[in-house]
Symmetry: C2
Subunit: 173 residues, 2 copies
DNA sequence: AATTTTATGTCAGCCTTGTTGACATATCTC
DNA sequence: GAGATATGTCAACAAGGCTGACATAAAATT
């Protein structure tokens, strides 16, 4: 125990000591289990197309943000261009995503989901939505808003404005 | 739009139509970004020990549940025993986890974190707790409870009693 | 106009962590 | 004693990360 005589080590709120605060095991573990099940839903369907989770992530964001560039996608996914290219190439070959040359900057590749691509992306999103809605049903009406704000605050502060922009299409606090 | 004349296609609550409900893109994407940052925290530290995320998960649950058996651990992680064994072997060799023969059933291996093991597990848990507390600070006091219940309800219903038992050490609803 | 920077693509190889299938051993249960 | 169970292990493979090096076209700079 750190003695009371060292007030600089105490956080401002409720006398909780930063150095020996007890781990939030419940939220840590619930987050693990919830995410495990959440991402497993789409797996069966992706399998039928010969795709994996990496394909899902790429297709999802391209479908959501038509005209996304490679650089923007790399920034969202936080993987290397080599990793991205492996799955993106397959999505393009199998005609789920289309790559067009940029208009203002012709070095850029603007990515668009094809009809097939949108269909699959929507199918997967609805599957995950089903789980989310089941969880929210029977909870207080404010639950969705609370969860949404919590998840946003969990993100690196340096990135949260960017995420807010991507997810909500706005940058307001 | 499905015409109002087909009531069987409507869910019980608030007239929301199951067949064309709009995807919850916000929660889907926020969950992705939040989890991405959440698991990235421990990575730097794990690197120093030559461990990866798989080692982290094993060490975490063994540290939290001393005496865990292989079978129980496999059920928690949902991986094959070969995958588990690869990382578990390293954790034992490097003296972060100890494996003792079961007392009542001597076929079982009971897993325990060593002193070193507990130290590392705690260090990583505190790192993740820091992020969780930062997110919760400034939110309503009920936020933690709401988020916790939401995450639990996100888990497969067939598994939620088990998870509740693991996380809270109880099985009450 | 020449040079440098930027956006993207690609090759080659490596690592972690998942998978399947087969088989071995010790121990418990019937 | 026979069969089921808990664990360990070998081998091979796949997905999806990574690094490093190099190539090209187009934009930006000087």
């Amino acid at each position: 125990m750190v003695p009371d005589a060292i007030p600089v080590l105490r956080s401002q709120q409720s006398g909780k000591d930063i150095l020996d605060e007890q781990p939030a095991y419940d939220l840590i573990e619930l987050f693990f289990f919830a995410y495990r099940d959440f991402v497993s839903d789409p797996d069966r369907i992706l399998d039928e197309y010969g795709f994996g989770r990496a394909h899902h992530r790429v297709l999802h964001f391209v479908s959501r943000q038509p005209g996304l560039t490679i650089a923007e996608l790399l920034d969202i996914l936080r993987i290397t261009k080599q990793s991205l290219n492996r799955v993106l190439k397959e999505l393009i070959e199998k005609d789920f995503i289309e790559s067009r040359m940029g208009t203002s900057d012709r070095r850029q590749r603007l990515l668009f989901a094809t009809g097939k691509g949108h269909d699959l992306a929507l199918k997967l999103a609805k599957l995950q939505t089903r789980r989310i809605m089941r969880a929210l049903s029977g909870m207080e009406p404010e639950a969705k808003e609370t969860v949404s704000r919590y998840l946003l605050r969990l993100i690196d502060p340096s990135d949260s404005a960017h995420v807010k922009q991507l997810v909500f299409g706005t940058n307001e606090t």
